[in-house]
């Protein structure tokens, strides 16, 4: 570290904050990707009900 800092470096807290954000957002993204794959698969396999209506 350059000169003796007046305030402690606290890099731990900074990394923790960004790390947590990465984990949370990354986890949510992975969940969305998984859900999307499942929904697409279920959607393609599902025979369209007779005369599927356009959403009202």
């Amino acid at each position: 570290m350059p000169d003796h800092p007046a305030t402690p470096e606290h890099w731990g807290f900074v990394v923790a904050a960004y790390g947590l954000a990465a984990i949370v957002l990354g986890g949510y993204w992975r969940r969305l990707v998984r859900l999307e794959r499942e929904a697409t698969a279920k959607h393609d396999r599902r025979p369209a009900p007779p005369g599927t209506a356009t959403p009202r």
Partner: protein, 224 residues
């Protein structure tokens, strides 16, 4: 809604843009931006904390508009926007609280301070968690959409009330802390870093929203 009518290509582009933005923001926040004089390194958490809350406000504004849209048109697409935006908005509000707490520990010595802005964010968080619980507890799509729309409007209009009541509740005892969005005397580099991160977060929000809406539409697509 052009946005959610399956333009997968656009969503993927959005995803890459968000990723690039986040990377640039991270490099700026942790590397390029100098250590802030008075607060020290921990001030770097600001580049995460402020964009999170701004994105959350954007999300809840969308919930308000989409809820009004649903009540007027009764089209399910509006409800999907409201539900998806609320879910992601709550996520970003949670991140705001977490980063605020991680910022508070070295600065205040405590994980949580009843600082006006943090308190207002916490109230908003529990309000929208309750919104998500309401959505989770109602199975019939139309009924869920109706009730969620009413709560989506009430919760949004309540935000200013919460803001002022918490502000007065705290200010009489203690002036609001330095966690103001953009500290007045911010040099260019600080402002740039904050700006880039804000744009990156907004892009990320848009990307996640598009994906979440698509999931919602696909899982309901089987229904006439």
């Amino acid at each position: 809604m052009w946005f959610s009518t399956g333009s997968r290509g656009l969503t993927r582009v959005l995803g890459w843009l968000a990723a690039l933005g986040l990377l640039a923001g991270l490099v700026l926040a942790l590397g390029v931006a100098p250590r802030e004089v008075s607060q020290g390194n921990v001030q770097r958490i600001m580049y995460l904390h402020v964009p999170s809350i701004l994105t959350a406000y954007l999300a809840f504004a969308i919930v308000l508009v989409a809820s009004l849209g649903y009540l007027v048109s009764r089209r399910q697409a509006w409800d999907r926007w409201a539900g998806s935006a609320a879910e992601i908005g709550t996520l970003f509000t949670g991140l705001t609280l977490a980063s605020g707490s991680l910022w508070g520990k070295p600065t205040w010595g405590t994980w949580w301070t009843w600082d006006a802005r943090l308190t207002a964010t916490a109230v908003m968080f529990v309000t929208y968690v309750a919104y998500l619980m309401l959505r989770g507890m109602i199975d019939e799509a139309e009924r869920r959409a109706q009730l969620a729309a009413v709560l989506g409007i009430l919760a949004a209009l309540n935000i200013p009330l919460v803001h002022f009541s918490v502000l007065w509740w705290r200010t009489l005892h203690q002036p609001p802390t330095l966690l103001r969005p953009v500290p007045a005397a911010l040099a260019g580099i600080f402002r740039l870093t904050l700006g880039v991160n804000w744009v990156a977060f907004t892009l990320l929000f848009a990307y996640l929203l598009a994906k979440r809406i698509r999931v919602g539409r696909l899982s309901e697509a089987g229904l006439p």
